[in-house]
């Protein structure tokens, strides 16, 4: 099942995919997908993201894969739905997308062992974890000014039930900018796979339903400009569309 959270006709609804072009709302109405506002499919209390978690991307960024995952928290105000807009700050020189498989937690979990890790996964969605590299500093890197900007983490369109994805560690990821393929990879190139990430994180944090883990991105990040349409896709999970817009000056 593919589940969405949308706004339609002045109210927020849960909905499920109906055919290729429609949604069935929780009240039974069937609505054209073009007529809704897509919201992030989950409302997480905790958002974590992995840095340098693909073998190839780690090479590109000169990182030696270490014994511990590089994980950092993000604020919920950074999320924005499918077909949303993300602002490129005025005057910056390098802002790039990051296509990522996002794991949504289904049950309260602490100290999980990898054999049982998938029991606590509700499903998956697609994240685009934009980074504004002009603001990168070597303090708690990647720092929040790079990674927790308002509406700079598109998420969606769907929460896809974990039962529908038998092997999340073998999914193809792609990004296109204005229709041109710029990034591709496979989740089987992750340094730390989903069970390893969950085992690590829950060794010190209790996660709850709706919490979100962004699992990192493969190589192929390029600068995006105002007006660009950026499509991050994880095949089988969803095709997440975002448009870069101008920021205003204060």
């Amino acid at each position: 099942m593919k589940r969405a959270r949308i706004a339609y006709a002045g109210a927020i609804h849960q909905a499920v995919e109906e055919g290729n072009s429609h949604l069935r709302l929780d009240d039974g109405r069937v609505i054209d997908q073009d007529l809704v506002i897509w919201l992030p499919p989950v409302v997480p209390g905790i958002i974590l993201a992995l840095g340098l978690n693909y073998r190839d991307h780690a090479k590109e960024l000169k990182f030696e894969a270490g014994v511990e995952p590089l994980a950092f928290p993000k604020v919920a105000t950074s999320l924005v739905g499918h077909r949303g807009q993300t602002r490129r700050p005025a005057g910056v020189t390098f802002m790039h997308y990051e296509c990522e498989l996002a794991v949504v937690i289904g049950k309260t979990v602490r100290s999980v062992v990898r054999q049982n890790a998938y029991d606590f996964v509700a499903g998956y969605t697609v994240a685009n974890d934009y980074a504004v590299r002009d603001y990168l500093e070597n303090y708690y890197r990647p720092n929040m000014r790079v990674k927790s900007r308002d509406e700079a983490t598109p998420l969606g369109p769907w929460l896809v039930d974990s039962a529908d994805i038998p092997d999340p560690m073998n999914l193809r990821l792609t990004t296109t900018v204005n229709g041109v393929l710029t990034q591709q990879g496979s989740t089987n190139d992750m340094v730390f796979d989903i069970p390893a990430i969950l085992e690590y994180v829950t060794s010190f944090m209790t996660l709850q339903p709706g919490d979100l883990i962004l699992t990192g991105t493969p190589e192929g990040v390029v600068d995006v400009k105002v007006g660009d349409e950026v499509v991050t896709e994880v095949v089988g999970i969803g095709r997440l569309v975002n448009t870069i817009v101008e920021d205003w000056t204060v």
Partner: protein, 212 residues
Amino acid sequence: MDERSRSVIGVALNFRETLVRLSPAFAAPPYKSPPKAPILYLKTPNTWIAPGDSIPCPPGVPRLRMAGTLGVVLSRTACRVTAENAFHHIGGFTVVNDVSIPHESFYRPALRERCFDSFCAISLPLFPPTHQREFEINVLVNNVLRSNARTSSLVRSIPQLIQDVSEFMTLHPRDILLIGEPDASPLCSPGDKVRVEIPGVGAIENRVVQAS
């Protein structure tokens, strides 16, 4: 609104004594240059505990750092506010014990060190806020005063922090901005009773216990 949807945001190296003490290291790798923007971190919802709750000391960690700090509670949405207007967005203050596993490096986000379960004790907030603009923060361990800090030592003042954070990250009502960790915050072991006091705001007391 879901209680877990609020953000509790901390700021590292915001007391001048700490910044001055560590600054010689900041010219060298991995930092290579001094910090420019505020160095932020989150205290995720799994860290939040109330007065009287236990603070778990993880196995293999001998001591935990207890940073008594002031929590600034937002009352109005703050997006790109100026320091001049920042106080209009403050709804109250709270006393916080921002617990961490001591760590020397500020290079990578210290997720385990800062976001371990029950690592952020938050008092009931004081509404409406006091008109105080300067605060004194005391940390007492087993009834003995172990650290005393004043907000006059902040690198970035409360209004400046609200300006610099809200420039890229909107703060919402009930979000809490922690103003920083006083230099030489005490280290505590299981069994210790920790009390953070901020005259004019309140106090919070918790005990450190050995986690299994």
